[in-house]
Amino acid sequence: MLKIENLEVNYGMIKAIKGVSFEVNQGEVIALIGANGAGKTTILHTITGLVAAKAGKIEFEGQDLLKIPAHKIVGMGMAHVPEGRRIFQELTVYENLKLGAFIVNDKKRIEKNLEYVYAHFPRLKERKNQIAGTLSGGEQQMLAMGRALMSNPKIILMDEPSMGLSPILVSEIFQIIKEVSADGTTVLLVEQNAKKALAIADRAYVLETGNIALSGDAKELMNDENIKKAYLGE
């Protein structure tokens, strides 16, 4: 479904991504884990066109994403929940969700998507007229996820959805990721919380300073001695 080949990304002189290849198949939950500064966010930003690649290929359902402007990518069925949520702080919850469905023209479809989001995040329904900037961190994360789901994505990219949340909320968010996956949406999940991510992922890639250091079945990686030491704190 999504195939990245020998991707290289530079920020000026800094080589952030140095030839990364991986793929995501339809229906999978793929975890991309790695330490701070490894390049996880950069990869997601390059996939959705916010950052330009220096070399390599990104193929989504047979189309070369590197040739497509950022604003056209969501229409192809790819939603991105960016790092730090980046909800529209000055707009209401409802207005944020409507913007998530910006590319959907069918009013009925928008209503249905809204119901779907409210069913998964009842809290957003209660607070639909609240200004998004006044939501709690957890609620903002829910809004960012709900906003992405409003576009009927085939694949959803999530960048550290657990960042800054209490353990209970983290569990709640991961539960919803599982549900979204069960509903048929493919998930590419970037996480620092390797334990949680590996627990719900099918496969995982471990990124170290711009390179894929390790990859494989999520359950096997969870038992890998190096992973345990470096990422699971055991």
Partner: protein, 287 residues
Amino acid sequence: MSTLIDGLSLGSIYALIALGYTMVYGIAKMLNFAHGDVIMVGAYAILSTIALLGSPIAAIVVAILVCTVLGIFIEKLAYKPLRGASPLAVLITAIGVSYFLQSVAQLIYGAKSQPVTIGNFGSVAVGDTKISLAAIITLAAGAVIMSALTLFIKKTKMGRAMLAVSEDRGAAQLMGINVNKVITVTFAIGSALAAFASTFYLMQIPSTSPTLGAMPGIKAFTAAVIGGIGSIPGAMIGGMLLGIIEKISLSIPVLAPYTTALEFSLLILILLVKPTGLLGKLKREKV
């Protein structure tokens, strides 16, 4: 009473121009210092159309079209190639565009100011005071235009896209919003508002010259900063405030000569107390 109406009417003109500065700043993150000169071009469009067709209404329509197209062209030719360039480069380009427009106007129409008559409006008597009809029309039309703009931003998809781009360009792109298109629409709207400002300006001061845009441009920019640059209601409030203060100051003989100084002092005072302007918000840095 009549000073207040005059002030509000002048304020409407400042507000209409300030909206152009503030919307472009909010959405394209740049200061379009050529904006004042769009008003001047609008004034000449009115002058020429009246000379050719004799109809003030046609003149206003032509001015709106000319300014809108001009705004789109300025953005496409001068600013779009500089997307992502340093703010200083963009600022210098804007000043260049400003001089360019003034020079072209001077080549075509000459440097001297020329009279433009949109109509004879006279005044109406309310009790003992006489109120200029032009001021009343400006005030009423300005209120209608600004309400329409507010509705457009609140209720339409394009309006919401503009708000989204002004807050977070990257996130807006992730929603499928074409940022270039939004910026083009912003310049078009800002320039159309400038054409209305030209109209109302000429109704009160019926003459134009190549530097006509300079003073109202600077005043309106001041108004936008007072209100909080980037904020649409801020531009409206800032414009009104500046218009009223200017007219009140002009009506008091001792203060009259110092009016402009007074207005800029107000700017400095407000920026000292609230650096972001009345309604401006401090932008949180995006990670």
